[in-house]
């Protein structure tokens, strides 16, 4: 191992320790001028404070977030009703890249990255440069979201869990738990054959596969045993029950696909938020009444971690229930 690299690693070892949450973050060793062959990345532009922030409309498409599913727990609301909730944590979700729309009516594509990689030595150079041009630490997970122009966020900005408002609906997209190669009873809910009365070796089988000479083949898409799970699925219209801006947690009501610590993509619900707001807008409702459950508007373009920390909001915000506006 080169001597300089060893020294650099030794000086940075405490910054990569998994348990440390020290207040001083040690900086990496400063380079010699000759060793850096690539240009330094442009500093991320902060959002300008002079222009007033744009107001969310039903025809605005905000960005989503990358979160980790931490597990499930239960919360009781003001009526004493118990709600099972899934805890999603936003782990250093930063904007990596913007892409322009492909057509005249198209939307911008914004790439977000989440969860810093502690060990970057095994990354390909092109991967390192991809993050370097954004000025962010290399991430584990990357996802793209389509956004309208007013919802663009400067590259390098870290997004907070307060991007979502308690009381709004979200869609959650994740890979389901893989179940391996499974039979038709587990995979498709077939009823199988009787356990007794002479059934021979076919208690859990699919039974007949098709008709007779016509068509003389098996239709495409016939349900058969195969690999189950491990597919991306969307769970729609989950209510955001609570938002914790200190630990960057989003509590959504109900279950979410995937195992604990899985990567989740969270976005504003297409049906319960976007289409509903569009309908209310077309009915002539004023701004502030497009969304339900006491939600007046959604933060546009987002709430950054710095904004959430400095804002005069409660650390933990919860939606109390319907009719409690």
């Amino acid at each position: 191992m080169p001597r300089l690299l060893k020294a650099a690693i030794a000086s940075c070892s405490s910054s990569f320790s998994r348990r440390a949450l020290s207040s001083t973050i040690p900086l990496p060793a400063q380079p010699e001028a000759s060793s850096s062959k690539l240009p330094s990345p442009p500093p991320p532009t902060e959002s300008s404070e002079s222009t007033p922030p744009a107001r969310w409309s039903p025809f605005t498409q905000r960005t989503g977030l990358i979160a980790m599913k931490r597990g499930m727990t239960a919360l009781w609301d003001e009526d004493g009703k118990r709600w099972p909730v899934t805890v999603l944590q936003v782990d250093r979700c930063q904007v990596i890249r913007h892409e322009s729309p492909t057509g005249p009516e198209g939307k911008y594509t914004m790439q977000l990255g989440a969860s810093d990689r502690p060990n970057v030595r095994r990354l390909h150079k092109n991967q390192i440069n991809h993050f370097k041009s954004a000025g962010v630490h290399p991430k584990y997970h990357l996802k793209s979201f389509h956004v309208t122009k007013d919802a663009l966020i400067p590259v390098g900005t870290e997004i907070s869990a307060a991007h979502f408002v308690p009381g709004q609906y979200v869609d959650v997209i994740a890979k389901t738990i893989g179940k391996g190669f499974q039979g038709v009873m587990k995979r498709f809910g077939f009823r199988g054959q009787p356990a007794t009365h002479g059934t021979t070796l076919s208690h859990r089988s699919a039974g007949a596969m098709g008709a007779n000479q016509d068509p003389g083949r098996i239709w495409k898409g016939k349900k058969m045993p195969g690999r189950m799970g491990g597919k991306q699925r969307t769970t729609h219209n989950l209510l955001v029950h609570r938002v914790d801006k200190e630990l960057n947690l989003i509590f959504v009501r109900g279950a979410v696909p995937g195992f604990d610590d899985a990567v989740i993509s969270v976005r504003d619900a297409v049906r319960a938020t976007k289409w509903k707001a569009e309908n209310e807008f077309k009915r002539g409702k004023p701004d502030g009444e497009w969304l339900a459950e006491g939600v007046k508007t959604l933060p546009l373009p987002t709430v950054t971690v710095q904004q959430a920390a400095s804002a005069d909001w409660p650390a933990v915000m919860e939606w109390p229930g319907p009719g409690k506006a």
Partner: protein, 234 residues
Amino acid sequence: MSRSLRTLSSAALPARCIAGPSRLPLDTIRKASTQAASNPSSPSSSPSSSPAALASASVQSTASYPYSSSIVSKPSTLETPTPRRNLLHPKKGWSVIEHLNSHLRSQYDTLSLSTTLFARKSPERLRTGSIITVTSWTNAAKTATTSFSGVLIGTKHRGIDTSFRVRNVVSRIGVEYNFKCCSPLLKEVKVIKSAKGKKGPGRDLGTRKAYWVRDRPDILSKIAAQASKAVKSR
């Protein structure tokens, strides 16, 4: 290859993009949130259940939070510190749930049931066979109550979802009720007779889960008689 990344100068990057896992230390978050959040609500108060307290909490939060008119402020989870300190990006995410559950139990479990009567190893924990009366509120305003008496046939320890099962025979019909220890609608758990000994109606049923009692109506009839007698005498 790795050196090129580590040569990123810190001056070109904002504080959060410094090479190395970036993070805001929990101390900074705690300080920022206590400074910024000007809520005068006491940090250790349990979630306000009375309408007046709820209204005051909503009004305080509504004034500062512009995106919703119906928000209730809850105490910060960092006020219940847990041994695991890496809560922002833990290696195993379940540590976040453990931290949350310990905080939520301190908030919700006002009767401290999950730490005394229904704990795993507390000396005062209830054994199966104990006869108890559970009083619970029937509405959110907490004006009316209802009682259920019976024999404890099992306690399920699930952290915040810790629950216990009570069985009784009411009008010749066996009825089981599953109560959550941390439910805000739970008013009181009164122990009529703590299970003890190996004989008699108040005996210790011997197992942590006594579901076999469902097939033994003779045991239950004696327990039900004793429970109703004790309830009437109070």
